[in-house]
Amino acid sequence: MATVVLAPTNNGSTMSWSVLVGAASKWEACLTNDGDTSYSGATWVDGTEVLGLFGMDNLPSTVAKVTDVTVTVIVRRNNASLANIRPALKLSGGSVQYSGSNFTSSTSYVTISYSFGSFTIAEVNGMECGAELGTNFWSTFCTQVYATVTYIPVAVYPTDPLVRVSGITRTFRAWDKTYQVVLNLGSNMTNYVSPISGKIQSAIEPAVLPSGPGYTRADYEKWLAGGSALAKRFPQIPYEVWLKVMGQKQAPLFGPGY
């Protein structure tokens, strides 16, 4: 497991905080834990709790799977009276998720965190993080918001930078649509047939001239007269179509029945 900390990059889809001190924008005020040097926050508004969300950094490309997202806010009250402060997270197109109640009356900055669980990489890259700040007749200030993402990293191979390509086998097979490369690295020099993905199918069915004269009109006429179920069902099937049905990609250009 590894972790990465994501910081705000912009004000999110909801930003109802009214306080801004020491920075050009609210998200910039909440980048670092610098106390009252720069902060944002909310003043009392009719006893309601005020939501502020920030757009966050994207995950690095080394993340294979996210196992947890924990949102942390560092906040204080400007009066020693209790207020409910709840870290919040909103996925793109989703509704806002909140932590449980976190009442605090501290006038010094305190750290409040909440684990929101696992999400997909795309969800994390589109998420917004912040907090709902209770005010309770006074103000609540926030000096930092961040998300700690715990993840399983992408496995990078080979682990030794000196390991190089020691063998290359390029294969094309028209008859089973294989078009691939097998690379041997380092000491691996053995030929190999994979049980998992020994071949890769191409998008089209490669067209190759048949070997030999192939089916002829005489064969076609025999087929028509043969009384097979297919012949009875499609008695007027054209010769060219019949060739395709028989797996022959192109009518032969010569032959006794042509």
Partner: protein, 476 residues
């Protein structure tokens, strides 16, 4: 790595137009010999945009020091020529792309190293009343298997070709390889080239002189030399053998010291001059004298005579068999940390793997991230051997060792396995420094072989041998 056209790279990653691949393989049979230059070529390329393809199967295998391939072509109308052995094929591993079919050596840069038809077969089969199956199967040999592993090194005079004229004398390993390729071209009529060393210099390949010219006074005792010039040196005092006409041994190699009354041209020499080297075709007559060219120094010598260390491939232990260019080049590269690879267009390149090298191709478990891989396997070997000892001189009186730090702390074994030694005896080495360089080069090569892997990917025309690739696996 080959720098391919952007449209080809896009098609390799995403398919054409999207979601799949349309293989395009350039396959043109061209006569190799200069006498047949300009004569007919036979194009059996696979073009996914047409319905007239004959190419059923193509395979090209490259590894360090070996290469080859197989082609299977439909011969349904028996129009494929009876004999294409000796023709060469520069397979282009391309695709149909948004910018048309990309498979050539120019725009697409999708062509792999050259191969030659070394064997062909005809197959006729098919069940009763079924569509007949008529194929031509071509077994191909690449630059290594068809050329370097076949052609004997012929530098110097017949019949022994021991570089009697000192072509490789006092040259670095890199220059020696370059000169060998020049000799190969002269021998075959081909136009192989060697890329400039550039950043691939390991500090050994450009400095080690495998066949140094040594002046008397500096001969290393117990080392074998070939006399190049007699000068004022009395070689008989340091192991040389001086023979007078009448006692020459047929087929032995001599260098003239004094002409006297002997007509050396009657017994194999090109002229009657001092320092002319010849293979005796008779016992000779008269008062002329000559040294046997090879000698093992019993002293450092004195005077102005010069000699060259014997070609390692042609020392007394291997006289009578000619080494191929591949063997010779390999023995030279063993002195370094470098590898020689064949590239498209008859080019060779020296590669010195370095940790600081940038990743050249990255393959991903998710196609959305880039060129995908379908399967990736990694393997680690137990390191055995885990230390190297190299002896030098004829009497193995000097040596140096290299220890793998994962198994040894200094000279004490601290690993999980047991000490396993690889011993090498290089009789031409005359200093512990040479032994030390060889030991560390050998150790590095062993270390590079510790990890192995295999990855299966959709066609990628870019990748070459010794490329540094990376697989990013986000599967969890």
């Amino acid at each position: 790595m080959r720098i391919c056209h952007t449209a080809l790279i896009a098609a390799q990653t995403n398919g054409y137009p999207v979601g799949g691949y349309q293989p395009a393989i350039r396959c043109i049979f061209t006569p190799t010999g200069t006498a047949t230059a300009g004569t007919a070529t036979y194009d059996y390329s696979f073009n996914p945009t047409v319905l007239t393809n004959r190419l059923i199967q193509a395979e090209q295998r490259e590894s360090i020091g070996d290469d080859g391939g197989t082609l299977i072509i439909s011969n349904y109308d028996k129009s494929v020529p009876d004999n294409l052995t000796g023709y060469y094929v520069d397979l282009g591993w391309g695709l149909n792309t948004a910018s048309s079919v990309m498979w050539d050596a120019g725009t697409a840069n999708a062509v792999a190293p050259r191969m030659w038809v070394m064997q062909q077969s005809e197959i006729s089969g098919g069940a009763k009343n079924s569509q007949p199956q008529l194929y031509k199967v071509y077994e191909l040999g690449g630059v290594w298997s068809a050329v370097l592993n076949q052609q004997p090194v012929r530098i110097g005079y017949a019949p022994y070709y021991q570089d009697e004229t000192g072509t490789l004398a006092n040259q670095t390993v890199y220059t020696c390889i370059s000169l060998l390729i020049t000799a190969l071209n002269s021998q075959t009529g081909m136009s192989f080239t060697l890329d400039a060393l550039g950043t691939q210099d390991d500090g050994l390949i450009s400095t080690i002189i495998p066949f140094p010219i040594v002046t008397a006074g500096s001969f290393v005792v117990n080392t074998q030399y070939n006399i190049l010039t007699t000068g004022t040196t009395d070689y008989t005092l340091i192991g040389g053998v001086l023979t007078t006409a009448g006692a020459f041994i047929v087929s032995k190699r001599y260098i003239i010291l004094t002409v006297g009354t002997t007509d050396f041209t009657l017994i194999g020499a090109t002229s009657n001059n001092i320092d002319v080297i010849f293979y005796a075709t008779g016992v000779g007559a008269g008062t002329g004298t000559a040294y046997e060219v090879p000698f093992i120094a019993s002293g450092v010598g004195a005077g102005t005579g010069t000699a060259m260390s014997s070609l390692r491939s042609l020392n007394p232990q291997t006289t009578g068999q000619f080494q191929t260019y591949a063997q010779f080049v390999q023995s030279l590269l063993e002195l370094t940390k470098c590898v020689l690879i064949a590239r498209a267009g008859l080019a060779f390149k020296i590669v010195y793997p370095q940790s600081s090298d940038a990743v050249q191709e990255t393959y991903y478990s998710s196609q959305a991230s880039g060129h995908p891989f379908y399967e990736n396997m990694n393997r680690r070997l137990n390191m055995s051997p885990n230390y190297v000892e190299v002896f030098g001189k004829e009497d193995a009186s000097i040596s140096a060792k290299w220890y793998d730090t994962d198994h040894f702390s200094g000279t004490a074994y601290v690993g999980n396995f047991m000490p396993v030694i690889k011993s090498i005896w290089e009789q031409s080495f005359s200093s512990t420094g040479q032994c030390s360089n060889r030991a560390s080069a050998e150790g590095l090569q062993l270390k590079q072989q510790l990890l192995g892997g295999r990855v299966i990917i959709p066609m990628d025309a870019r990748v070459e041998l010794m490329d540094r690739t990376e697989m990013d696996d986000s599967r969890v």
